[in-house]
């Protein structure tokens, strides 16, 4: 279980989040909604351990282990994954190599996958997501379109198969067709990974065409103001975030 308990978060001395409680059990899908500037992305970064974000109070507990102070790579090793809202370009870093190194860093030494075997594996994963094979020869996000970047995030999710995945506005900046392919891919992954706990951060309702969440939370001004199920979405549809 990914457990966020009484979390208070600051950036450069300014309080962004407060009083956050969330529990994500394996296999559950949570959606966190909220208007722009409500602190959604800050929460995603805080969960992944961004160094600029200061946790002032509270704890993040992953399967019983306190990771509040762990650096991002250790969180990843424990099974946490963040799909970025704005994936960063890393020029000159080959995607296939990056994925192999990332995958292997999550595995014990003796289980690491050698280059050729990994490329084979990657080919299958690319096919699974209907991506072209030469995609892996490109450099990490370098010169990618918005859609390609988000697809790469999903590809990483597939290759790294985390226990808990956070999708930070993966739907933003995508046209309808891309949105469809990205989330259909995501659903395909979920079908195989039934135990994955998911937190989807969004401020569009379009996503519910593809995702049927178990829980919905609303974040406003840094505080979770509502917890519930799909009924909340309908309410927001009518009234806005207010």
């Amino acid at each position: 279980m990914l457990e966020i308990s009484d979390l208070q978060v600051e950036i450069e001395g300014k309080k962004i989040l407060d009083d956050i409680f969330l529990e994500i059990k394996p296999g559950e899908i949570h959606v966190l909604m909220g208007p722009n500037g409500s602190g959604k992305s800050t929460l995603a970064k805080a969960l992944m351990g961004h160094p600029d974000i200061g946790v002032k109070r509270g704890k993040i507990i992953l399967d019983g282990e306190d990771i509040t102070k762990s650096p991002p790579d250790e969180r990843a090793k424990k099974g946490l994954f963040l799909a970025f809202q704005y994936p960063v370009e890393v020029p000159g870093v080959n995607l296939a190599n990056f994925l192999r190194i990332a995958r292997n860093s999550l595995l014990p030494k003796e289980k690491r996958i050698p280059v050729f075997k990994f490329r084979e594996l990657l080919r299958k994963k690319l096919a699974f997501l209907d991506l072209e094979e030469n995609f892996m020869e490109r450099n990490l996000n370098e010169g990618f379109s918005g859609g390609e970047k988000k697809k790469t995030e999903i590809l990483q999710l597939l290759v790294l198969t985390p226990k808990y995945a956070i999708l930070d506005e993966t739907d933003s900046g995508l046209d309808i067709d891309s949105l469809k392919t990205v989330f259909e891919s995501f659903n395909k992954i979920l079908k195989n990974e039934k135990k994955m706990g998911v937190l989807i951060i969004t401020h569009y309702k379009k996503i519910f065409d593809y995702i049927k969440p178990d829980f919905v939370h609303v974040l406003k001004n840094g505080v979770i103001c509502e917890n519930g199920k799909m009924d909340i979405v309908k309410k927001i549809e009518k009234q806005g975030y207010r």
Partner: protein, 830 residues
Amino acid sequence: MVNTRKIKKLKLGYKTKYGFSDKTKNFIEFSKGLRRGIVRRISDIKTEPDWMKERRLAAYEIFNKMPMPQWGADLADIDFQNIKYYVKSTDRKPRNWNEVPRNIKDTFERLGIPQAERKYLAGTASQYDSEVIYHKLKDKWTKLGIIFSDTDSGLKNHSEIFKQYFGTVIPSTDNKFAALNTAVWSGGSFIYVPKGLKVAIPLQAYFRINARNMGQFERTLIIADEGSEVHYIEGCLPAGELVSKGHKFVNIESIKPSEEVISEKGEFSRVKSTMVRPYRGNMITIIPQSKGNSFQITTEHPILCIKRDKVKTKRKLRNGWKSEVLTEKLNDATPEYVKADEVEVGDFITYVTPTAVKDRAHLSEDILKLLGVYLAEGSVSFNKSLNLKNLCFSFGKKESEEIFALETKSLIDKLGEKSSVCRTKGGYYVVTSYSKKLIDLCLKHCGKGATTKLLSKDIMTLPPEKQKFLLDNYIKGDGNVYVKRPYFSKMVRSSTASRLLAYQIQEILARLGVFANIAIRKGGKDIILGRKIVRKNQFIVEYTDNKKFSEVRKKDNLFFVPIKEIRKEDYDGFVFNLDVKSPDSYLVKGFAVHNCTAPTYTTDSLHAAVVEIIVKKNARVRYTTIQNWSNNVYNLVTKRAIAHENAVMEWVDCNLGSKVTMKYPSVYLVQPRAHGEVLSIAMAGKGQHQDAGAKMIHSAKNTTSIINSKSICFDGGRTSYRGLMKIHKGAKNSKSQVTCDALILDNKSRTDTYPYNEIDEKKVTLGHEASVSKVSEAQRFYLMSRGISEEEANAMILSGFIEPIAKELPMEYAIELNALIQMSMEGSVG
């Protein structure tokens, strides 16, 4: 510091000692500083033609008149009067092919060398020296009309063409350092590629072995005639000593950063960087009691040592004898690092036994015993008629040999494999097996070929008591035992043609608590029964059990071994150093020496080379440099090329290390459609300044150029890009694109860009992009969120940054470059 008076006193006893000697080769030595007479003398010694002598003298005058450059890096610390301008180069010994690093062998493989060499590579032919291959290659090139030699020979043997081009691209008046180089140059390469000839392979392989043409004031001249193509790689890998990687010894220059070597503690330690510097002066050969472990070292290199005068008895010196050593004192003494030129005959140097142990259950007693027999008597060959590999153990004729043969068979039986024993016509006993399992086992753990057999890492790290199974059978085969009176001490000796195996046997014995000496019995040509044969060098490992008197003392995993002889000779060339992580030391032929980062390395060296290239019509030249200088080197190199009609000149230049580098490879585009390119990487860390860039001179129509410069600075280092883009009037439709990217890793470091554009023609296209970036927090966070450690994330970002240039390098160089950059960066980011 050692008390010199004490030493002088000590030396009195050397003269008629037993086994100790102090030898210094006589050589011509110039005093420091530069004078007209010295320039003249250099030319005389080389027996150069008059025009060259005059050229040198004229350059000397120019050098004197020219001021130091007042721009760029700080050169105030260079003291021209404190430099030796010439030492008579001694011939370096040709090296054994076994010692040639793997990557060079691979290069030869790719070169498609004739069948005989290929066989050699496969280990089936008899001994071939690397020099032989080099000469073969040279023959091949000579037949094609390619001239490829060191510059001194170039002047001697091809004086016409040499005179025609020498100094035409870079005149002595160009800059102070070009003038200095012209006055005192020595070494470098001379290449002429005839019309229309395309040399498919980079001309570097040969230089990697033939290190004698590199030096402080090297001078390179390359002429690519019309329509020809050549790629020259300037590598600087001098022939270095053998360094312990724990299970085997490898040539120092083949070690890459991040690999592990054994330190003075006998444990693995990681190599941070590998560095090269020009060196002129004495090279010291230390010859310990075990002569096979002799090694060469520069004068200031510290060696882990116990001075004899610290552990001697108070007894009066016997005339002609070394002072006697008090065992208790020696046992209590702590070895200290002493500069090589302060180490004396009779002092004790420290042999370190590697301590890593990892048992491997599958290597059972019986298997190890069999491997021991294989090491001594075994061979693997291919039976053509059966189309099968077979494993063969050959024994002598004696009864004892018959017993050994039968034992071997029963060992194989015990391992559940089949074999047969037979007796040849000559009466020799032979055991043969076709078991694939055994063949694979023997090849994997012992290698093949008399001169190339080598034990695997698995074997070398077994617990010593298991290694003994192998050793005992090996000695039974390749060794012999004498019992000596009056103490009935047992002298054990074994002999092998594989040098590296001898060191391994010595190491196993050391693990078992015995110090063995290695002696070398020189091979050579001989005639037996009218047949000419070539005897291989034999390496004899010997030790004596229950010896009454021993000069070697043991303490934990260390052996203190007395020095029997020290030789000094002159050296002019590059030397190689490792920078190893704490405890800052590594083992040369088994003996502990300190890193090159020792504070004793204070003297700065100057590397002032000149490279001139003429690229004729339709020709193409690429010149690649990867250099990682020690951080006390001033690297001030003038590189320039002239590109004629439709010619292509590319400089790929990677500058790491050094104290100061000033280097601006340039291309003069003098005829229509000539193209010039400079791709460069500069990296500066603590106390370093890389002032590098490029010059492109467009003086004809439709000429094009590209400059792509990448620089990285960290830990207070400074990088500057300095570029000149000159377009003369009339050079219509010229195009040029300059891109320079700088990466700064912290706030202490600095980077600047000094672009100079002089454009006298209107119809041109010019692009200039410059960027300065920091390793961004966002990139690091992104990579780390995928489980990648901070260190690895930084490394990845850096590799990505240099990737556009690294991909232009041959694979092995790209890997090397990456490793070098990663390692020098370690711990300094973030």
